[in-house]
């Protein structure tokens, strides 16, 4: 099955809300300008159960969605590798097709 458009790497990072600015700073270090932040409601992992209770955003998680050229995405991934454990990140990578490839250079 072939899809219309051009291939790009889709990176999804599940991260605690207070650390999002740090992620965005890392993105711009790799000249990746675009991203979209998406909400989540609750979850469970090795560190236990969490949900979006109001009291503090310390454990409130969001997903940072980034579409980028494969090379840039790879370089970015290498840079966040050391943070995976301490920041408790979940990273999902896949290949998708986009319609205006020049926007995701």
């Amino acid at each position: 099955m072939t899809l219309p458009g051009t291939e790009r790497t889709r990176v999804e990072i599940l991260v605690d809300a207070p650390l999002v600015p740090q992620m965005i700073a890392l993105l711009s270090k790799h000249a990746i300008r675009g991203h979209t932040v998406m909400p989540t409601l609750s979850g469970e992992g090795e560190a236990g159960v969490w949900d979006d209770d109001l009291i503090t955003s310390a454990q409130h998680k969001v997903i940072v969605l980034v579409v980028a050229e494969p090379d840039k995405a790879d370089a970015f991934i290498e840079d966040i590798r050391p943070l995976l454990d301490s920041y408790g990140l979940i990273v999902m990578l896949s290949t998708i097709n986009v319609l205006r490839p020049e926007k995701f250079a």
């Binding site: 605690d16 109001l54 009291i55 310390a58 943070l83």
Partner: protein, 316 residues
């Protein structure tokens, strides 16, 4: 005892009960956040209006200095105890100690309510002291983490900016200033919202806090009996120190009790967010568990009456 039967405390108990029997009762996140912003604005305004009436006094300055000192210094003994007795890692002990040096707005507000009910009100300027005590502990905690926990040093400028502009400081100081400027007359037109509705809204917020604290206690993986005991002992010790310091610098009983409540309380809004950012390797389950699931309910149900009692003994 009579304290425990105030509507505010009863709603806290109701929330905790609902969480313990695993009810699906939940307050939408946006409502909870909205109420907590409202409470900060209301308490800030009230403090500002009261200081506008009473004027700036030397007492205010002395109390402010005492508050700042407590917030800076309290993390140190807490850190030592958490490392030695609690067997926590350096980074974790530092992160937790920052919470205990800082303060809980809702504990303070609940304390004021109870003081008012008992007819020994605290001075209006204590709101300013509350705002001043929010952040010094964050600095102490991070310095401890750098020296004893191997945490990487962060640029002090960033840190200062974050702590001075954090939402609670902004709202408390900002609405304190608004209250100061508009005074009693300007306040009267907005009093129905910020004064008349205050106690009722506080009830709803404590319902929510009861839910959250009990849920966290139930699910908390990082909480051992030893840490629970330490969370209580730290609150009691800090609270007592706060009252004694208040008495020593000549505050009246209500105001000294309020300083004790501030010292004995632990942050669970601003400091956890700052720690997640600055010390991501520290365990949030630990510091939120201790401050929110143990110390907060302890203070609401037991701590506040004790600090008030001590204040009544030592001040006359």
């Amino acid at each position: 005892m009579e304290t425990l039967l105030s509507p505010v405390v009863l709603f806290f108990v109701l929330g905790a009960f609902a969480a313990l029997v695993r009810s699906d009762l939940a307050i939408p996140e946006a409502i909870g956040k909205g109420i907590s912003l409202y409470l900060m604005v209301a308490i800030g305004l009230k403090g500002g209006v009261e200081v506008a009436e009473a004027g700036f006094t030397l007492e205010l300055l002395v109390a402010a200095a005492a508050g700042i000192a407590l917030s800076f210094i309290l993390p140190l003994p807490v850190f030592v105890v958490l490392r030695r007795v609690g067997k926590l890692s350096g980074v974790n002990a530092a992160a937790v100690s920052a919470h205990y040096g800082s303060v809980s707005v809702v504990t303070f507000v609940t304390g004021l309510e109870i003081l008012t009910r008992q007819q020994i009100p605290a001075a209006g300027y204590m709101v300013a002291v509350l705002a001043l005590m929010e952040t010094p502990a964050i600095v102490s905690g991070l310095l401890l983490a750098q020296r004893y926990g191997g945490a990487e040093p962060r640029p002090m400028g960033d840190l200062l900016h974050e702590t001075l502009t954090n939402a609670s400081v902004m709202l408390l100081v900002g609405s304190f200033s608004v209250g100061l400027i508009v005074g009693k007359d300007g306040f009267s037109s907005i009093a129905p919202v910020f004064e008349g509705a205050f106690r009722g809204v506080l009830c709803l917020f404590l319902l929510e806090m009861g839910l959250i604290a009990a849920k966290r206690l139930r699910e908390g993986k990082s909480l051992t009996p030893r840490l629970i005991a330490l969370a209580i002992a730290t609150a009691l010790t800090n609270g007592t120190l706060g009252v004694l310091l208040g008495a020593a610098i000549g505050l009246d009983a209500g105001t000294a009790a309020a300083l004790g409540i501030l010292a004995g309380s632990a942050s669970y809004i601003a400091v956890p967010a700052a720690m997640r950012l600055a010390l991501p390797q520290a365990d949030p389950g630990l510091y939120l568990g201790m401050s929110l699931a143990v110390t907060f309910p302890f203070n609401i149900l037991v701590g506040i009456p004790i600090y008030i009692w001590i204040a009544q003994q030592v001040v006359r």
